[in-house]
């Protein structure tokens, strides 16, 4: 009886404007170990978006619940279970790695909650495994590298060496690169956790390609770029990269070893639109000269998407909320943005040059648009 009364009073309170209970958003992300900086960027960007809104997203009071998955799929699943089933959280986001997403996402959507990916988007969830409660705000994994292939082709290169770690994301990266490059590609696979690439440098020099593509996120990317410079290859053989290998933190850590590289991206710090400028200004005001990465930008966009949907519907009304999400009615920092058939982004891709910045640190400068409003190759396989 007491319970019933309490429930009734909560119901009464929540229907009164201004007294509504805050909508909880569950952020599961990786904060420990070498990739901890990525999770930190994700968390801080979402928190920043909420702070900018005065504790609200889309005019609705929200509360962030953040937990570290430790890059362990089992832990991620445990946290999701607590968020969704015990705390009644309907909106989850923040996972950095595909293998954590693989364990978490199916369970979240099966329990009627929404998962909005701010980073990882593996192919097994993009095609036949798509779900109406699963949205991706970042990109499908393959798209990152397709843009880079297109860039290398547009620069007139015919012969490339492509390097990536010998695991699924690495193989997908090279496959994505080859899809639009269409030239001759020699593939070199590196080991997971490899920090010394001297042997690969020698192979690159021996192969003498016109361009080098490599996919090494985080610390691996830092090591690779430094050693590329030390081997004297920087400036001799041009390099084109996709964004995970040249995020802001990596550029900060490699110094001038990054200067002269070309990269492809869906967003860059110098984008000339109001949403992007507002984001960059807010970040600078809060975090000073701490590098902004595209991980933060995607998380910020995710928060804006959540806000746009919350202003139209409550997540408890799943159908209305889903419709509101699909509309993607928010000002993306990357300019135009919409969802494809599999609820993955349709967006444009740009080429950037890495040049020496005024403070001696390298910075990315946006050049041409490479691909205009494209989705991903798995969208056709998705039946919703």
């Amino acid at each position: 009886m007491k319970k019933l009364l309490a429930a009734a009073s909560i119901l009464a309170l929540s229907t009164m404007p201004g007294w509504a209970e805050a909508v909880k958003i569950g952020v599961i992300t990786t904060l420990s170990g070498p990739p901890g900086y990525i999770g930190e960027q994700v968390r801080d960007a979402i928190a920043l978006a909420v702070e900018q809104g005065g504790g609200k997203l889309g005019g609705v009071e929200v509360e962030l619940v953040v937990e570290d998955d430790g890059l362990n799929p089992g832990n991620g699943r445990q946290i999701a279970e607590k968020f969704v089933n015990d705390q009644g959280i309907k909106i989850l986001t923040g996972i950095v790695f595909s293998n954590v997403a693989g364990a978490v996402v199916p369970d979240v959507v099966d329990n009627g909650a929404f998962y909005l990916s701010s980073n990882a988007a593996p192919s097994n969830l993009a095609g036949a495994g798509c779900n109406e409660n699963y949205f991706v705000v970042s990109w499908q994994n393959d798209s990152l590298h397709e843009a880079t292939g297109a860039a290398a082709k547009s620069l007139g290169y015919k012969k490339a060496v492509a390097l990536a770690p010998n695991y699924q994301a690495g193989k997908d990266a090279i496959a994505g690169f080859k899809r639009l490059f269409e030239g001759e590609v020699e593939e070199i696979y590196t080991q997971l956790d490899q920090t010394d690439f001297a042997s690969e440098m020698a192979r690159i020099r021996a192969a003498a390609p016109e361009v080098v593509f490599q996919f090494h996120p985080g610390g691996l990317g830092i090591a690779f770029l430094k050693q590329y410079q030390q081997a004297g290859l920087l400036g001799q053989i041009p390099m084109v990269l996709s964004e995970p290998s040249v995020d802001g933190v990596i550029l900060n850590a490699v110094g001038e070893a990054g200067v002269g590289v070309k990269a492809t991206t869906h967003w860059n710090e110098d984008f000339d639109n109001d949403a992007s400028k507002a984001f960059v200004a807010a970040w600078r005001a809060k975090h000073g000269d701490r590098p902004i990465t595209y991980y933060a930008q995607q998380a910020w966009d995710t928060a804006q998407l959540i806000g746009s949907a919350l202003s139209k519907a409550t997540p408890d009304d799943a159908d209305a909320f889903r419709t509101a999400l699909r509309a993607a009615d928010f000002a993306s920092t990357r300019g135009d943005f919409k969802f494809g058939a599999n609820q993955h982004p349709v967006q444009s891709w740009y080429m950037v040059d890495i040049v020496a910045g005024p403070n001696g640190k390298p910075q990315a400068v946006t050049k041409d648009k490479l691909r205009d409003m494209v989705g991903d190759v798995y969208a056709d396989q998705c039946k919703m």
Partner: protein
């Protein structure tokens, strides 16, 4: 001092209380606690299996993730081939029946343990630790580069395996099924530990030469134990893949072997209930600390350090000592 019989009786009563408590868990646990207890049950099967070779047999294996992971992968791969309706390796049909996949996982991990054990047991001590690690690492790298089964991304098992027509999507049902497997496993393990085989194994840990002189071939006995232990870890992995509905190279990573070993040491090496307490303590700590602070690993590290420096023989030290006394009383 109470007689061994009386203590044995006390222990059985203790076990009975534990079983009743476990049966009652779904009545008062919320969903995430239920899931936590389920994970504890599943991991404790692997920890108890590791303890069987480590605590009773004196074989320090840092490669048990291999068996745990293979168990998971058997379930995952059979599911993939069931979903695609294509045979595995051209002639093995896929399956989504728990009563097919779990025994298959146990058999495959047992065979793997036979091969790894047969080679590794030619060494001892630190070299045994490292060679078991080496084999597990090879299997880890093999699955990471196995593109057909998701590589690093792993296999999503979209539906938990079917079992006796039960609704396996229901968490409580799933919990009772896992509890059933756990109880059967623990009962079987109890019988093995207290059989003449178990006695010989413990004897070898204490004095291998004497046991050899008594006519027991140490290599063969240790190998049997290693295979049984691998089968247990494989069972645990198969159940975990069903519970998480996911199998990935993460299950094969050496840190998983280290985590299992931590559970065993935390609980108390060489005691029957130790690994169960250790698993519970480790997972509860990990889950609870992570919910409190993002720097939870600092506290976990401090607690592990405090447990090792502050107690001898883990949380279950008292119980473990009691158990050791009893074993000596019997042997």
């Amino acid at each position: 001092m109470p007689s061994p019989d009386a203590r044995n009786l006390a222990r059985r009563i203790g076990l009975a209380v534990l079983v009743v408590a476990l049966l009652a868990v779904p009545m008062f646990a919320d969903s995430s606690s239920l899931s936590l207890v389920t994970r504890i049950l599943i991991y404790s099967i692997a920890a108890a299996s590791l303890n069987f070779v480590l605590g009773y047999g004196g074989m320090i294996s840092l490669g048990h993730a291999a068996f745990f992971g293979i168990g998971g992968y058997v379930v995952g791969m059979l599911f993939v081939h069931h979903a695609d309706a294509t045979p595995l390796m051209g002639f093995i049909p896929g399956s989504n029946q728990l009563l097919v996949t779990v025994p298959a996982a146990v058999v495959v991990s047992g065979l793997l343990a036979l091969i790894i054990g047969a080679l590794s047991l030619r060494t001892g001590g630190v070299q045994f630790i490292m060679i078991t690690l080496a084999f597990a690492q090879m299997i880890f790298f093999f699955f990471v580069s196995l593109k057909a089964y998701g590589g690093e991304d792993g296999i999503i098992v979209r539906r938990t395996n079917e079992f006796l027509g039960l609704n396996m999507r229901d968490r409580v049902t799933l919990y009772y099924v896992m509890l059933g497997f756990w109880a059967v496993f623990m009962l079987a393990l109890w019988r093995v530990v207290h059989s003449s085989f178990g006695t010989v194994l413990r004897g070898m840990k204490q004095n291998e030469r004497r046991m050899a002189a008594l006519g027991y071939a140490p290599y063969r006995y240790k190998l049997y134990a290693f295979v049984l232990s691998g089968m247990g870890a494989g069972l645990s992995g198969a159940l975990m893949a069903n519970f998480l509905r996911f199998a990935s190279p993460d299950m094969l990573h050496w840190t998983k072997s280290a985590a299992l070993m931590t559970m065993v040491i935390l609980g108390g090496v060489g005691s029957f209930l130790g690994p169960i307490w250790g698993t519970a303590a480790y997972l509860v700590l990990e889950t609870w600390l992570a919910a409190q602070t993002e720097y939870w690993q600092l506290w976990l590290g401090l607690i592990l350090l405090a447990v090792v420096l502050g107690t001898r023989g883990g949380i279950n030290a008292g119980m473990a000592r009691l158990a050791a006394l009893m074993m000596r009383g019997r042997g």
